[in-house]
Amino acid sequence: MDKKIAFMKGNEALAEAALRAGMTGYFGYPITPQTEVIEYLCKEAPKYPKFTVLQAESEVSSINMVYGAAAAGGRIMTTTSSPGFSLMQEGISYIACADIPCVIANVQRGGPGLGTIQPSQGDYFQSVKGGGHGDYKLIVFAPNSVQEVVDYTYNAFDLANKWMCPILILSDGAIGQMMEKVILPEPIPARTAEEMRDEKPWATNGKGKRTKRNIITSLNIQSDAMERRNNELQEKYRRIEGEEVRYETYKADDAEILITAYGLSSRVCKKAVDIAREQGLKIGLVRPITLWPFPTKVIDEFASKPNVKFFMDVEMNVGQMIEDVKLVVNGRKPVYFYGRTGGILATAEEILEQIKAKM
């Protein structure tokens, strides 16, 4: 079992990538359109003697199982979809405050409420601004293909360990359900108990030979301690902003109009760019891959360019990332928005029409 080419559904590829990344525990609750993740893991589990998969009684419970398992030193993941992600917000706030590395995937569906099981990007704010209480951040990846789901999931476990921070893979029901060809990365050999202890000297895995016991908590009852905790978190976040930004530009160098889009909608936007270029229109795309940390610098550079006329933000919601785009552009250029909701994905032609109306 090593590097391998396969034709897989997004959700199953996500599960396989996590197994190959040496995931030791998965806790989740069924919810459409991401239930294939736990189904795949239950089927594959016997091949991985050091891996444990458990269907929790709810998403509130699964995120807290993740909290416990990851604090104990495991490489741990949960996945869910929008309403379930809402239920996890308290737990995520705890995990972020306690500096616990873990991986969460939200395969978004249309909201608000029970909504629809169709794809959506309605949880950008919840994911990027903090759906839970207090000032915290998750590193948020927005893959736009099954291959990227695999790559970012595979790397997420080590990245989480590096920053002592939960990583969120924010995709949607279309990416979760569609089948694409993927190159699966080489499996990481399972760590021994000893290796796990060495890798995570902070984990609550029994005092062992340590001279001091470990405590995992998010409680800081004294104001000055709590402020210190917040300052430490913010310092860490500044460092992450310096090191972990990822984005893609597409035919953007000479563009006069820049589309901003992420995840599923960025694929249609690429097509819109191609059509525009055929028509001689200088349109390009900036695609944030990390939604937080946000690719501020590259958007700032485009906003400064004299030949750039305006930005068009395209999302599958009523306008969420546009706020972050506007905060960077800061009045230098107009920033327009086009979005569809309920699972409807704008067509390339539709997007182009919107852009032409602003030209």
Partner: protein, 254 residues
């Protein structure tokens, strides 16, 4: 120790020499000590992982010198499930109050017990929310006055107090379930034996071990520590009878 003396009692090394924040007369400190004595006697101090709840014992990790994780309110059993499934060879325990275990955490408690998660649950039932200042708990007695039952708990409106030990003992996943009390030296000694039994059965991987500890709350019961003993004896233990509710090892011995 001075020559010629015999050691009959000592503070366990597993208990940190920190002044506890508990109110005078509260049983929490006794239970902390008992658990740490058992941990020391069984020699599992370097293996065990504790989970503290939200409630008065949220700071349990300030006193017990073992690895500890603080869980969100009600989620100690979910957190412990995550820990134990990651480290199946380590003893794991939760330490939870009645609001935490029986109100907000009821689903996590019942499902962990139903799955037979191999950890020990120490459930402190003092029939009231302590840390938030004396609100009605699922275990508040009929007629008992709390800040959210100011005219006494009325079962017609809010139901009867929940007998958690009896409830979880019905679940096949539970290997051992007992209700103990700390209201007199004999009961304290019994409780210690039961704590040890929990850890022993946990080590045998037989299922969940659940110990309900009937406790007190001088501050929120608005009684002197001494008078809480009467209330425990005359009120709590009448509704919450002590004893072993389930013991799969006893069955096996038959």
């Amino acid at each position: 120790m001075k020559e010629g003396y015999t050691l009959v009692y000592k503070r366990p090394d597993t208990l940190l020499k920190t002044r506890m924040h508990y109110c005078p007369g509260c049983f929490h400190s006794i239970l902390h000590k008992l658990i740490m004595e058992v941990v020391e006697e069984m020699g599992i101090q370097n293996d065990v992982i504790g989970v503290s709840p939200v409630g008065c014992s949220v700071f349990a990790y300030d006193y017990m010198d073992v690895d500890f994780q603080e869980a969100a309110h009600g989620r100690a059993c979910a957190v412990a499930t995550g820990i134990k499934r990651t480290l199946p060879n380590h003893p794991v325990f939760t330490y939870q109050g009645d609001g935490d275990l029986a109100a907000i955490g009821l689903a996590e408690t019942m499902h962990a017990c139903n799955r037979g998660e191999k950890f020990s649950i120490f459930f402190v039932n003092n029939a009231i929310y302590g840390m938030t200042g004396g609100q009605m708990a699922p275990t508040t007695l009929e007629g008992q006055i709390t800040t959210t039952s100011p005219y006494g708990r009325d079962p017609k409106n809010v139901g009867y107090p929940m007998k958690m030990a009896e409830m979880v003992s019905q679940l096949p996943g539970v290997a051992y379930c007992e209700r103990v009390c700390l209201n007199n030296p004999a009961n304290v000694r019994k409780a210690k034996k039961s704590i040890r039994k929990c850890f022993e059965i946990q080590a045998q991987n037989l299922g969940t071990t659940f110990l309900e500890v009937v406790s007190n709350c001088p501050t929120n019961w608005r009684l002197s520590p001494i008078k809480t003993l009467d209330f425990v004896e005359n009120n709590m233990l009448k509704y919450y009878p002590l004893g072993v509710k389930k013991d799969v090892t006893a069955t096996e011995e038959k």
